[in-house]
Symmetry: C2
Subunit: 389 residues, 2 copies
């Protein structure tokens, strides 16, 4: 009797939920992507009226100049399927293309937004992406928190990772300030970057020191990620008017002051690191140069070493003098990483030549690939273990 009542409850709930757009009973038997024991992945879509179904993904090999696309094959019950090759460990993304229309996989609820696109993702393990997974290890706390920017005259949002044990400890912790690229916001390193998983896993294995990670929003014309501010649920764009205009670098001191007031953190240079990807690498370069005795560790991930849009700002003046001061003051690590096919490769090369000519010491990592989150996750996985040791 009890069981029957509960089953009735679920069935009724499903009917009601269906009115709210849930699709119980629809495609419920379809698993996509399915992780196969041989290391391949199978993707499926039920599309009874489709003439042609393709899959586009960053794990496929492009045959021409366009994105990599493969045909899916029609099987029983109008289900189209495609099985990948054995995939190296990575966080991958994909879409389906049904008669020319790009869609999400209705059987995969895991989605990540990148600027104005939302794509399905999946993880292939047994390699570097094991760091990107939630494993049975102690987990840090991830907080979305607002700070007051007196300079920008608004409250702005941060993502703050505090490591396992932070709350129950009385110790001070070191801080990594982690900056995103031109397409990102304070959620990018958590979503596309898997930062909390990488830190949890590296800390659990003893490879990285417990640290606080402060993930900022580098678009000073925004207060928060799309949908998280009073701008409402607008369509995000990549180009905002604040890129390379000096505001992020000028007002970064407010973020440091907020962090040091609100968290138990060390206040020595040896307790502070700053790193960023692409635009965030540009920001990290200029912030560390303008605060030449503040950061013991600097990480430039595929940095956008480009002329600033507001070259007249004092922030962007006298780089050589600032770098000389940084060199003289000393630091533990200045780390530059870039992919061999990155479109910024030459810019970074030129910047390295400048540093070499100054006898400014840095470490350099050259990876395969280009300007991709695949590289940035990998760089964070390599950079974090070098910090605060």
């Amino acid at each position: 009797m009890n069981k029957i009542l509960i089953i009735v409850f679920f069935l009724s709930a499903q009917l009601v939920y269906a009115q709210e757009n849930l699709n119980f009973g629809r495609q419920k038997e379809i698993i996509s992507p399915q992780t196969n024991t041989d290391g391949t992945f199978t993707f499926r879509l039920k599309a009874p009226n489709a003439k042609k179904v393709e899959i586009q993904g960053d794990f496929l090999i492009a045959k021409g100049t366009g994105p990599a696309v493969e045909q899916m094959k029609l099987g029983a019950d109008s289900i189209w399927a495609f099985t990948s090759q054995v995939l190296p460990s990575e966080l991958y993304s994909y879409s389906f293309i049904v008669d020319g229309l790009k869609i999400r996989d209705p059987n995969n609820v895991y989605l990540i937004r990148d600027v104005s696109s939302v794509v399905n993702v999946f993880l292939a393990g047994a390699g570097k992406a094991d760091l990107y997974m939630v494993n049975d290890v102690p987990h840090g706390t991830v907080a979305k928190r607002w700070y007051e920017s007196a300079g920008l005259k608004v409250n702005r949002r941060l993502t703050v990772y505090t490591p396992p044990g932070y709350e129950s400890s009385k110790a001070n912790y070191p801080v990594l300030y982690l900056l995103h690229g031109v397409g990102g916001d304070e959620e990018a390193w958590m979503q596309l970057g898997r930062a909390s998983q990488i830190l949890d896993n590296l800390i659990a294995s003893g490879k990285a020191k417990p640290m606080i990670v402060v993930m900022t929003n580098g678009h000073t014309s925004n207060t928060a990620a799309p949908g998280e501010s009073s701008k409402g649920l607008y369509k995000p764009i990549m180009m905002t008017p604040d890129v390379f205009n000096g505001d992020m670098e000028t007002y970064f001191k407010e973020i440091i002051a907020f962090t040091e007031k609100n968290y138990r953190v060390g206040r020595n240079k040896a307790d502070r690191a700053i790193a960023g990807l692409s635009m965030g690498g540009f920001h990290s370069l200029w912030i560390s140069a303008n605060y030449p005795n503040t950061f013991g560790y600097v990480g430039l991930f595929s940095p956008a070493v480009l002329p600033p849009s507001n070259a007249a700002s004092p922030i962007y003046k006298d780089l050589d003098l600032k770098l000389e001061a940084q060199k003289k003051n000393g630091f533990k690590l200045y780390w530059i990483a870039i992919g061999k096919t990155d479109f910024l490769y030459k810019n970074v090369s030129d910047y390295r030549k400048k540093l070499d000519a100054m006898n400014f010491k840095y470490e350099y990592r050259e990876s395969e690939g280009g300007h991709t989150w695949s590289n940035w996750r990998d760089y964070l996985s390599a950079f974090a273990p070098m910090l605060f040791k």
Copy 2:
């Protein structure tokens, strides 16, 4: 020169990003949904090869027994469009149906997952949904945090909202424990429930007292929401083996203990509230009955007043005696709300008769509609202002 270089940077970045599945240049001119000045909304989809495009949404009026669907009309440039009626203020969800295949709107990045379905959402303002928006008011902190459950022998994840000013204050705050339904997890009240927006806005207007809100995961066989545990990126299901089996009620004391150890909170009954929807209403009923001198405020939102699956558990014994103790001990508010067309209406009616017969005082709100998040957001908006006064 600088401007040209930066434009080159963006264009190059877009090409590179495109390889990672971004769709710059594709449908970039299309805004969907578009908020029109007259209170209507226009939805658009570019689908050159489609024969028929429909929109399904909870703001449409069903014409038969199935979900409400409207035809979209083909216009210039292969863009299908539909304009709604003037919509009452609400958080709405919708999908497109292209030749029978239900898809997400590629031009709307705002999505919410409900069990195994992901749907697009939008907000219609100038009414109750103003509380669901991020407005220019002080914002609380939202943290994802793990606690150790000694009883369940796992670490489990919570969502904790601390109100604006919590960190800079030394005061103790009251706590609302807010529980989800059978389809939810510790993210449900934040995603579908807009809890942090509702609290931020009610606190800013002085209508609700600043309070901490602890959002639990009521599925004790899970440690965290889908994708956030070591179960990996699996396909979520609604029915887990832990529903109504007594574990949530039995081990809830661990969550209270964790909260009171880790946050500056009042430890009197008058400082504690518990509320939940559907299954969470069932949990709130039984938790408050089993801890009969713990909660000053109880909210049962469309509670699933159903027989427990594990009726032999001491948790589910002697309800009348427990309610008598609760009544004798006294409380500030016992609040029950349900929609007129909810499939649990009769169950709740019967429960109210029981309370009436016992002379157990409660307040009752009967709303339009059924077992929906529309009602639960509304109930939270009504319940929070009655707390801790």
